[in-house]
Amino acid sequence: MSVVTAGRLRSRTGLAMLLVAIAAGLGAYVIAGLGLRGKVPANIGIYGPLIAGGFLAAWLVQRKVAPNADPALLPIAGMLAGIGFAVIFRLDAGLKPEDKLAQEQVTWLLVGLAAFVLTLVLVRDDRRLDAFTYTIGLGGLVLLLLPVVPGLGATINGAQLWVRIGTISFQPSEFGKVLVVVFLASYLSNKRELLAQGVGRFGLPRVKDLGPLLLAWGASLAVLFLEKDLGASLLYFAIFVVMIWIATGRPSYLVLGLVLFAVGAYLGYLAFSHVQLRVDYWLHALDPQHVFDQGYGQIAQGQFAMASGGLVGTGLGRGSPTLIPYAATDFIFAAIGEELGLLGTAALLTLYLGLIGRGMRTALQRTDAFGKLLAAGLTASIALQTFVIVGGVTRLIPLTGVTLPFVSYGGSSLVANFVILALLVRASSGPWERARRG
């Protein structure tokens, strides 16, 4: 009885939060239109109902098939996606044909919500995924390496991480990432005792147990070498190290992972001029002799945009974020910084922190190793990706091009993130240790 009541209460709170999120996203869209043209965007009558309807439908399905799920996850993602859509619409306004990006983003948002619903419906219990460890692992590996297949892969902006079939191109690595996390959760939850057996004073793992770690290191180096995708390879390796550390509880894996990361990064730096360039862009972005050059200029424009935005920003539609190259994808955080100011960027980071908090809570609530690793791994993948791109855009670390989860323009990323969200929602709906819910 009390469970049902609690469920209803949760779902009502969730609905209220979702309505606020939808209102914020569409409100930002309207304000962007006012700021740009002095009038409400003409397509509000189409996009408004589509976006609101899509999210409400997703919420209804979630209430039906995952009634005890964490109610905050969908609203947080909804708010991020709504702000992203408004900013993409705003960035699109200077381009021809107008509204193309916004229209595509709404389409992908709806596809993403469909994927969310489909994942929730198909995966009624996430532990059933545990049965397909190697199938999923293989699938992940295939998706990761698909862009290298001759005739399929396409190089965009120096990185070969796209697959083009006919006119449609997509980034399989975005989906590969999800499968890799599920595989690792499954594999590590089964092998954790084995891997945790250390030898010697420092509890170092046995050489034969290092196999998976070295395999992952090799795979991420392969991604780096074959696809020249620095960001993704860094991300995979970090997720792997974090998950194996959680599974085994051995800090030695963290240390070893850091060492391997350093070696890999150094090798990458030596082997690839584009890695060297990334470091140079990072260090010398604002040097007068470089500031208009490609690479340096992108980072410089991001810096200028965020600095020009200041504390409160110029207001949506009132800045000049279209001066930033790739403002809608890699640099959308800088565009938000210019028009919404520190208040906007801080709010955005707070939303991600909220998502991380809910994800970690789910990991703690789960009683099974697989569920814990799944929730923690998925959360870490979103958090680390956000850190890598925001850190790169703000010049905290060298820039590696990955998308800002839920916010950036791009179909593959948006759909993959909604699949991650669905798995997190599913993981949060049980099974839990009842006592902990208090």
Binding site: I246, A307, S308, G310, G315, L323, L342, L353, V390, G391
Partner: protein, 508 residues
């Protein structure tokens, strides 16, 4: 595993705190430094042109000198000058390549809405989502006086000639008109087509007539006999009267040299073997004023020039005095008179300086200020070009009150000067400025400035003499005739006459 999950959570929070720190640094602490990077100029430009820049209006509050219009281009607003060339010396231009000049430059904080006085307005614009509106500037310019001055000057100029006029209200210092010919059109320079801007700029700069130079305030010329206004003031301030008598030879031997000063035409001044200050002034006798200069000495002469706002330079150099002695809203070159030290061992230079040659320099604004001090009982008002700033609702947010620059002469000296200047127009070198029914006070000047070049023709005047309402200073460059001092009067005085007639006949 829970221990690791908690630690992971903390580590992720720590990473995000790093991001928050970096973002705060970028957007707040280092924001100004980064945003003002020269490489960020385009963003600043777009932001600047998104402001509905305030208008510049004439004194009537309706005649538009400059206004912002919506643009079709990438930049939102575009500057328009409906009567561009006529007011170019006042408004200046607003160019995205070459920056701002004139009032567009000096009043920019108001026009752009950045001045604190406009904060309420711009804040409500921001909150209500309206484009930011700048303040409207109301100037002192009288469109009729400006148009008359422009037309009268143009009529007197030969083909390709140049000259300038300044008309002031002596009681307030208000600039009623400021004309410089040739002028330029600020519209193409303020367009949003960089190619048009550059080609216009090149054309204007390569034009030998130098249309971008504002000859009313921005350049300096020998003032010739109009400088006798200062020499006579110094004499009166130092004890002379209108009846003080001076020896009247036909030429003045300059000490230490074989050079002489001669009167225009070569004869001696009217009055026999001696003559009076009044007669010498009325007929602009160089010989007598050379004597007066030598009697006064460089200290007194320089002090008087200084009191009127001439800048002291030694060595005489046009590049000194970067800031005008008398403040003004657009770049103003104060007149120049050498420091007393300059005259040590150069006695002849004192006499020559007393008649407005050697290293004396002035422009119509400087000479109008001298005339205005005489017209205003010895009180020199600082020239005022802007009276108020209004916000977009028409609310006055800032007033510029008339300001006294100084008291270069006593009321008695001012009255005596007025009497002598009336005499110039009644019966002296300035009869061309005579207006039936209005007593005009004036002083002519014909300033030599090099061999084989026609002298500059000057006229400094005010009217009505008994209650002066308007001061007019005119220079027609290279427009006089060396043969006769009166040619200065013939060329420049009719211009002043037309302006005075138009102003007093129409409005006052």
């Amino acid at each position: 595993m829970d221990k690791q999950i908690r630690r992971l959570g903390l580590a992720l929070v720590a990473l995000f705190l790093l991001l928050v720190g970096q973002v705060s640094n970028l957007q707040v602490f280092a924001a100004d430094r980064i945003a003002n990077d020269p490489a960020n100029a385009k963003r600043q430009l777009i932001a600047e042109y998104r402001v509905d820049r305030g208008s510049i209006l004439a004194a009537d509050g309706t005649t538009v000198l400059a206004v912002s219009r919506k643009s079709r281009g990438e930049l939102v607003f575009q500057r328009r000058y409906p009567d561009g060339p006529r007011y170019a010396g006042i408004t200046g231009f607003y160019s995205l390549v070459f920056g701002r000049t004139g009032l567009e430059y000096s009043m920019n904080p108001f026009l752009s809405g950045d001045a604190p006085e406009l904060a309420t307005q711009t804040l409500s614009d921001l909150v209500l989502g309206r484009p930011k509106k700048g303040g409207t500037i109301v100037t002192t310019i009288d469109p009729e006086v400006q148009a008359t001055a422009e037309r009268a000057l143009a009529e007197q100029l030969p083909e390709g000639g140049s000259g300038a006029v300044v008309a002031l209200n002596p009681q307030t210092g208000d600039v009623l008109a400021m004309v410089s010919i040739p002028t330029f059109d600020p519209n193409p320079l303020s367009s949003q087509d960089p190619e048009l801007i550059r080609s216009t700029w090149d054309q204007d700069n390569e034009d030998p007539a130098r249309p971008l130079v504002n000859r009313a305030v921005g350049e300096l010329y020998p003032p010739g006999s109009t400088f006798k206004l200062i020499t006579a003031s110094a004499a009166l301030e130092n004890g002379a009267t209108l009846d003080s008598s001076f020896p009247n030879p036909h030429e003045l031997d300059l000490p230490l040299t074989s050079d002489t000063i001669e009167n225009f035409g070569g004869g001696s001044c009217p009055g026999g073997s001696t003559t009076t200050l009044l007669v010498a002034f009325t007929n602009s006798c160089n010989v007598i004023f050379g004597e007066i200069g030598l009697q006064l000495g460089p200290e007194r002469l320089a002090a008087q020039a200084r009191a009127f706002g001439f800048c002291a330079t030694n060595p005489p150099d046009e590049t000194d005095c970067l800031e005008p002695t008398v403040p003004f809203a657009v770049p103003f070159q104060s007149g120049r008179f050498p420091e007393p030290e300059y005259f040590q061992g150069r006695d002849p230079a004192v006499a020559i300086s007393a008649i407005g040659q050697d290293n004396d320099l002035a422009n119509p604004m400087q000479m109008a200020l001298v005339g205005a001090a005489m017209a205003n009982g010895g009180i020199e008002m600082a020239p005022r070009l802007v009276t108020q700033v209004r916000d977009a609702n028409g609310q006055v947010v800032k007033r510029f009150q008339p300001a006294i620059y100084g008291r270069p002469i006593s009321p008695e000296t001012a009255a005596a000067m007025t009497q002598m200047m009336v005499s110039v127009v009644e019966s002296g070198t300035g009869t061309a400025a005579k207006i039936p029914g209005i007593q005009v006070a004036g002083k002519t000047g014909t300033a030599q400035h090099g061999e084989g070049v026609a002298p500059h023709a000057w006229f400094v005047s005010f009217a009505p003499a008994e209650n002066p309402q308007i001061v007019v200073a005119v220079v027609v460059l290279d427009g006089g005739d060396l043969g006769s001092e009166a040619t200065g009067g013939h060329v420049a005085a009719p211009i002043a006459k037309q302006i005075i007639e138009a102003y007093l006949g129409g409005g006052g």
